[in-house]
């Protein structure tokens, strides 16, 4: 693949003020874009701002500039961040995808590989356009929020003679119970941790416990069910696997029994447990508690798992 010399190389390492960003920070690897926030941003910028056809983006130039930037940081004695390098790789890979898809001659779709590439191209462009739409909408929302912030709501404290009318609070907490509440409320929590970013795998996380819960509910209705029936609504292989693992655990807990007349024959599952006593919380967590739930305050970790 050849680089077109007419493609203006993106400027690199320019200062935040030039780029119009509001926060001053150390000069990162930046393409001449205002408010760079990710690979989509870069691609959009390259395509629309520089009015480039995606096949003309000089990937080699961008790479050269990036290496130059890293060298300069080294000369300055600064460490360069791993995120920056990995972000660059994401950009480069996305660019390559786009380029490859774009370079396919149109109208000559022959084999499955071509179709896959075309689909990849459509998907990438659809995602880019969607991103662009949200970026425009974000601008509108920002403008509205700013305009609305000029109005201050009246939210004064209740006049004391009205406050006095309020019924006496019911208070049933002992100091001990209150302390327990405080301990719970003060426990460091990452409100968004229990979900690991798996979007790069294009598969949502599946919880064995949850799947056990779902199957337990169905089996408790009484009728034995085949494994096929139990997994008929599973939307992915991962869910089927999770249900299988859950069944093994439930078997260990002696709440289900299996019947299979011969190897590879239909597997039938029957509820044998005490309806009231069992719940999925007895299952072990060994199949993948979400990492970093408590100890990790670092969001960057989640994609490296």
């Amino acid at each position: 693949m050849t680089d077109t010399p007419t493609a203006a190389p993106p400027a690199v390492g320019e200062t935040a003020s030039d780029a119009g960003t509001s926060e001053a920070r150390k000069p990162g690897f930046e393409v001449r874009l205002a408010n760079f926030t990710g690979p989509f941003d870069l691609l959009l910028g390259l395509i629309s701002k520089h009015k480039l056809d995606i096949t003309e983006v000089a990937l080699a130039t961008v790479t050269d500039e990036f290496i130059k930037y890293i060298r300069r940081l080294q000369e300055l004695g600064e460490d360069w961040a791993l995120d920056e390098a990995s972000e660059f790789l994401v950009i480069a890979a996305t660019l390559l995808d786009l380029k490859a898809a774009r370079l396919l001659p149109a109208g000559e779709v022959e084999d499955a590989e071509d179709i896959a590439l075309l689909e990849a191209r459509d998907l990438l462009f659809a995602r880019l356009l969607q991103y662009k739409a949200f970026k425009e909408i974000a601008g509108i929302l920002g403008g509205t929020l700013e305009e609305e912030a000029l109005r201050y709501p009246r939210q004064v404290a209740l006049e004391s003679h009205f406050a006095a009318l309020l019924p006496e609070l019911v208070w049933r907490h002992t100091p001990g119970q209150f302390a327990e509440l405080a301990a719970k409320a003060l426990k460091p929590k990452d409100t968004v941790a229990p979900e690991v970013g798996l979007d790069h795998l294009h598969a949502p996380p599946v919880s064995v416990k949850e799947q056990a819960e779902i199957m337990g509910y169905r089996l408790k209705l009484g009728a034995p069910l085949t494994f096929n029936a139990l997994t008929a609504d599973a939307e992915s292989t991962l869910t089927v696997v999770a249900r299988f693992l859950a069944l093994l655990e439930m078997f260990r807990d002696r709440v289900v029994a299996f019947e299979q007349p011969e190897p590879l024959a239909v597997l039938t599952v029957r509820w044998t447990g005490d309806d009231a006593a069992w719940d999925s919380s007895s299952l072990s967590e060994e199949y993948g508690p979400m990492p970093g739930a408590d100890e990790s305050g670092n969001d960057g970790d989640s994609n490296n798992e």
Partner: protein
């Protein structure tokens, strides 16, 4: 339908007070600290919702400098308004009514009200908020897929600011789903998310994209 029949006794009683029902409604508006619905106001004043709505619209017009009950009010231009606008306005936001200072005086009022005003959102936060507003309820993974970057810390900031909230878990994946709050509506000055600007004009030729993403949901 005769209005007379519908009205509880309340209205007549209110009208005997100095300033009448309008002033009574104003008095109630002085003590609310979040938007009050017409139903709440009607119950508090012991009149029908229709009566309250009339009164609210009267007050709203009056505060903006129009003569109350002027015939054909909408056609009256600002120059023809018979009274000066007040320093405050009555607005219908997030499904309720509330009094706000008029935006012309933002600089002056800002000198007195230090707290409660939020700092500006970053571009990343605005974009994330936009995706959540239009795709709610939505998981972080899906927002992240649309934005092309990790959105964890931005989602946390938006939650802390009270603009979005946890709305339960996705029944299939178990992922936490997020939606915008009524505080978001208030900050936007709109009554419901249905009033957000249309997304489609910004998505040329992508009519089917919703279906696409719903099918390959992240």
């Amino acid at each position: 339908m005769s209005e007379q029949e519908m009205e509880p006794d309340g209205l007549a009683a209110l009208e005997r007070l100095p300033g009448g029902a309008r002033a009574a409604l104003e008095a109630v508006l002085m003590v609310i600290d979040e938007p009050a619905t017409t139903e709440e106001l009607a119950a508090g004043l012991n009149v029908t919702v229709a009566v309250v709505e009339d009164l609210l619209h009267d007050l709203q017009r009056e505060y903006s400098g129009y003569t109350v009950k002027a015939p054909d009010v909408d056609a009256v231009g600002f120059a023809d308004a018979s009274t000066a606008p007040r320093g405050f306005e009555l607005r219908n936001v997030a499904g309720g009514w509330r009094i706000y200072s008029r935006s012309d005086f933002a600089d002056i009022v800002g000198r007195f009200v230090l707290e409660g005003q939020t700092t500006r959102l970053t571009q990343a936060a605005l974009e994330t908020l936009a995706v959540i507003a239009y795709r709610q309820p939505v998981s972080r993974a899906r927002v992240s897929a649309i934005r092309g970057v990790n959105v964890d810390s931005v989602v946390r900031t938006l939650t802390q600011r009270g603009l979005i909230e946890d709305s339960g878990n996705d029944p299939e994946s178990g992922a936490v789903l997020y939606r915008t709050t009524s505080y978001f509506l208030e900050r936007m000055g709109i009554g419901s998310v249905a009033e957000l600007p249309q997304l489609s004009p910004h998505l040329p030729g992508l009519e089917g994209i919703d279906e696409y993403y719903d099918a390959t949901r992240m």
